[in-house]
């Protein structure tokens, strides 16, 4: 963690002998719009940001160490809390890594269920991202509309897994429960309402809004080379015109059968990032519909031994989470516990570009840019 001595404000004397001083502003960790407990040490010249140092670690829970002390199956419950806005997608990547170590493949129905819940989770996560982004920019209504729709997704997850938030639904070799009775009809009904009513409402409130455009267009531009150089993934990368989506580049599970159309925009600014998320939600709806139509029958979980003891070896599994490439590098030493499970959180990687983007912008844009990067501190600190 950076020491206080690092943040000494500079002092300048102009020709007239007038002394001016830079101001150090500690934004966070308790700040309404740093999306959790991020602390930004901003060096300000008036309202202009000269430098920004993100200080992280306030939500560090030693997650990777916890994995090493839990049986393989036990880690799924903990990885829920990593990117706490998309727990299902986290679970999928953990289950996939373990399956790769075990050398097993989940049944086809389980893969489809994983796709469906994963895409629902992506919608839920993007809804939070867009809603809170509106709130960051001062619009109070979108966040409530977004959470209203997200509630219904959480209701569906509750009826499916028993938990609203940290689902603990994935299993090594499949999923825990099959769809309960009426779940599919309920889901289809929700998709209709969401696509016909909620999304256009949200677009009407934000997309065409003059002030929203003025706040986001041309703000926080990332060019494609820069984006690749910083290792950005997810909507952030695709908004800069780089076509990379793990679901397309390295298809896994049911994505090998259902094609994803990656949503790309060229502008690379905050508005493009917002639009990519909106477009992705439409794409998610299409994917879920396709998957529900083609949902195969059969078992939902491969039979596995009670104590999982994979062979010695190492593997790397990655999924396209709502924020980018979420992946696990897992080493097995042949025991019941992973020898090492390294989690690559997309938020952590995406956050690195923040100081670069903030330099020279105004304080108001700090929030606009930070919101558009869409970090989850649970995923940054782990």
């Amino acid at each position: 963690m950076a020491t206080e001595a690092t943040f000494r404000p500079g002092t300048f004397v102009d020709e007239g002998g007038l002394r001016s001083e830079e101001m150090i502003l500690n934004m966070g960790p308790q700040h309404p719009s740093t999306h959790g407990v991020l602390r930004l040490v901003l060096t300000l010249d008036g309202e202009t940001v000269i430098n920004c140092t993100p200080v992280i670690g306030y939500l560090h829970r030693g997650m990777e160490k916890i994995f090493e002390n839990r049986p393989y199956m036990g880690g799924i419950r903990y990885i829920d809390n990593a990117d706490y806005l998309s727990p299902m997608l986290n679970e999928i990547v953990y289950a996939m890594a373990t399956e790769q170590l075990m050398g097993i493949e989940p049944p086809r129905r389980a893969q489809y269920i994983r796709l469906i819940v994963g895409e629902l989770e992506r919608i839920a996560s993007h809804l939070v991202a867009i809603g809170t982004y509106g709130l960051d920019l001062g619009a109070t209504t979108p966040v409530v509309w977004c959470f209203r729709d997200r509630e219904l997704i959480l209701d569906m997850f509750e009826s499916l897994s028993g938990h609203r938030f940290t689902h603990n639904y994935m299993r090594v070799g499949g999923v825990m429960f099959d769809f309960p009775k009426g779940w599919i009809q309920n889901c289809e009904k929700w998709l209709d309402v969401f696509e016909k009513k909620s999304l256009p409402d949200l677009e009407g409130l934000l997309t065409g809004n003059e002030i929203f455009e003025a706040r986001t267009e041309g703000v926080g531009y990332i060019d494609p080379q820069q984006a690749v150089a910083y290792g950005l993934t997810g909507p952030l990368l695709r908004a800069s015109g780089v076509n990379f989506d793990v679901r397309v580049a390295r298809p896994y599970g049911a994505y090998r059968e259902i094609a994803v159309i990656p949503q790309i925009r060229q502008e690379g600014d905050c508005f493009a990032r917002y639009r990519v998320k909106m477009d992705e939600m439409r794409e998610c709806v299409r994917l879920i519909r396709t998957a529900l139509d083609r949902l195969p029958g059969g078992s939902i979980c491969q039979r596995t031994p009670i104590a999982l003891r994979p062979q010695r070896g190492e593997t790397y599994a990655s999924v396209e989470s709502a924020r980018g490439e979420e992946s696990i590098y897992m080493i097995s030493d042949g025991s019941e516990y992973p020898y090492r499970a390294k989690l690559r959180g997309p938020s952590f990687t995406n956050l690195q570009i923040l100081p670069e983007l903030l330099r020279g912008n105004k304080i108001g844009d700090v929030i606009a840019i930070l919101g558009s990067i869409d970090i989850v501190l649970g995923d940054v600190d782990r």
């Binding site: 790769q100 920019l137 001062g138 619009a139 409530v144 003025a214 397309v248 090998r256 059968e257 159309i261």
Partner: protein
């Protein structure tokens, strides 16, 4: 005792206290109701209920909320500039009460019918900024300081278009002055116009045309005034000084309890005043069905108690219409809050200096030119109204993209060449091919450990 009742000094003092108590009481009740209404409106806009439990539809909350603030501890951190910190709420709040003096609720409910009402109102509304700046400085908090600085810049800048947008109305009153055209007796000068609220309200109730509200002559003026009013009262979308998502609570960050309540009361009081001034200047003040003294005197009688009753009923109607119109405008405040995001500080200033001020000046020039045309009073007013409405529509529909220019300094959307990118490319084509194959074999790259042994 009789001496006392005829003593002018005593009566002035009594009048002062009555006026003060009326203003404070009205302001407090209005603020309490507004807070409740704001919650309800926001709830309605956001697909939820808002206050619900205490009293019918949660109305008791309007009383409980201020009570809670009274009971809260008055926290003051040790490093604040004590005098500034304590004076700031009072300096913010005092002009708000004072400004109520000039508002004509009804012909007899005007606390002080000053001949220079508009000037007084404008002067008082620019004192507010002192309070906010003192709060920002005295709190010794960086968020407060930035909020206070933002607010100073914003409120001083928006004073200009606020005043300039009223000038159009004053000009219209000049052609309606009695010596020039009609036999209206309340306006005393011909060709000069009036800056007294009561006179302007009277000017909107010509004997020939009781419904000639100045919003018909100056629709653009109303819209501009209202926008500047939003900025003046630090309301969304111009609520930068207290931008919650950026500056925690801006200049309010260090305040709590009753001091905070005074700022809050002052803000809602400012909203009320802006709405009241818009009503008086543009929406005909207290004119409306039933608000006519002649009507009630005709029904009840002219003399004695009957005459008094007629006066009372007439004034009740007048006050009702004034407060009703004011309430509608206040609801627009709340509606805007529920709809719009917030501008950035530099965009806000650009919007004021590059868009609002030129537009208000242009409006003044055009209005002056039209009112000088030798085409008779009615034609003048009609032409003014039509031209002003055309300007408003032009601003809303044709120039709305240009507001983007003024705000961001970039080309408007329609002038930019947008690159439309096809999402289909190599990777996607590969995925599509995969879609065609019904069930691919378990992909070896996925299902096996990368390096075994």
């Amino acid at each position: 005792m009789n001496d006392l009742l005829t003593n002018d000094v005593f009566l002035t003092v009594v009048h002062f206290f009555v006026t003060f108590l009326f203003a404070l009481g009205f302001l407090s009740v209005a603020a309490m109701l507004l807070v409740y209404l704001e919650r309800k409106t926001q709830g309605y806009a956001q697909d939820r209920y808002g206050p619900l439990h205490y009293g019918p539809a949660g109305i008791y909350l309007a009383i409980i909320d201020p009570l809670k603030l009274f009971l809260k501890e008055d926290v003051k951190s040790g490093q604040t500039d004590s005098i500034m910190f304590r004076l700031a709420p009072a300096i913010f709040f005092a002009p708000v009460i004072t400004a109520f003096v000039v508002l004509p609720f009804s012909p007899y409910l005007t606390a002080g019918a000053i001949g220079t009402g508009i000037i007084l109102y404008v002067a008082l509304s620019s004192i507010d900024v002192l309070g906010i700046f003192m709060a920002g400085w005295g709190s010794n908090n960086k968020y407060s300081l930035i909020g206070g600085l933002r607010s100073t810049a914003q409120m001083i800048s928006y004073e200009l278009p606020l005043v300039l947008s009223i000038v159009g109305v004053v000009m219209v009153t000049s052609v309606l002055a009695p010596g020039c055209t009609s036999s209206l007796s309340t306006l005393s000068h011909c060709g000069i116009g009036s800056i007294s609220f009561s006179d302007i309200v009277h000017a909107q109730m010509q004997p020939g045309a009781p419904w000639y509200w100045f919003v018909l002559a100056q629709p653009l003026g109303l819209v501009l005034y209202y926008i500047c009013g939003l900025a003046e009262t630090n309301r969304s979308p111009f609520d930068l000084p207290e931008a919650e998502s950026e500056l925690v609570a801006g200049y309010l960050t260090e305040y709590s309890g009753l001091r905070w309540a005074m700022f809050f009361l002052g803000e809602y009081g400012n909203m009320t005043i802006v709405s009241a001034v818009s009503t008086a200047l543009f929406l005909g003040g207290w004119s409306g069905p039933g608000a006519s003294l002649g009507l009630w005197q005709g029904i009840i009688g002219h003399t004695g108690f009957a005459g008094f009753a007629a006066q009372v009923i007439f004034n009740a109607f007048a006050a009702f219409w004034f407060i009703f119109k004011m309430g509608i405008l206040l609801l627009v405040f709340l509606w805007i809050r529920a709809t719009l995001p917030r501008l950035r500080a530099d965009q806000l200033m650009r919007f004021c200096w590059l868009f609002l001020i030129p537009l208000t000046l242009f409006n003044i020039v055009i209005t002056a030119f039209l009112l000088l045309l030798p085409i008779g009073l009615v034609a003048q007013l009609v032409v003014t109204g039509v031209v002003n409405l055309a300007m408003l529509l032009f601003v809303v529909f044709a120039l709305r993209r240009l507001t983007g220019v003024s705000a961001t300094g970039r080309l408007p959307r329609w002038a930019q060449q947008r690159v439309v990118v096809s999402a289909t490319n190599g990777a996607n084509a590969r995925a599509n091919a995969g879609q065609q194959a019904a069930l691919s074999a378990p992909a070896d790259r996925e299902a096996t450990p990368a390096g075994r042994g």
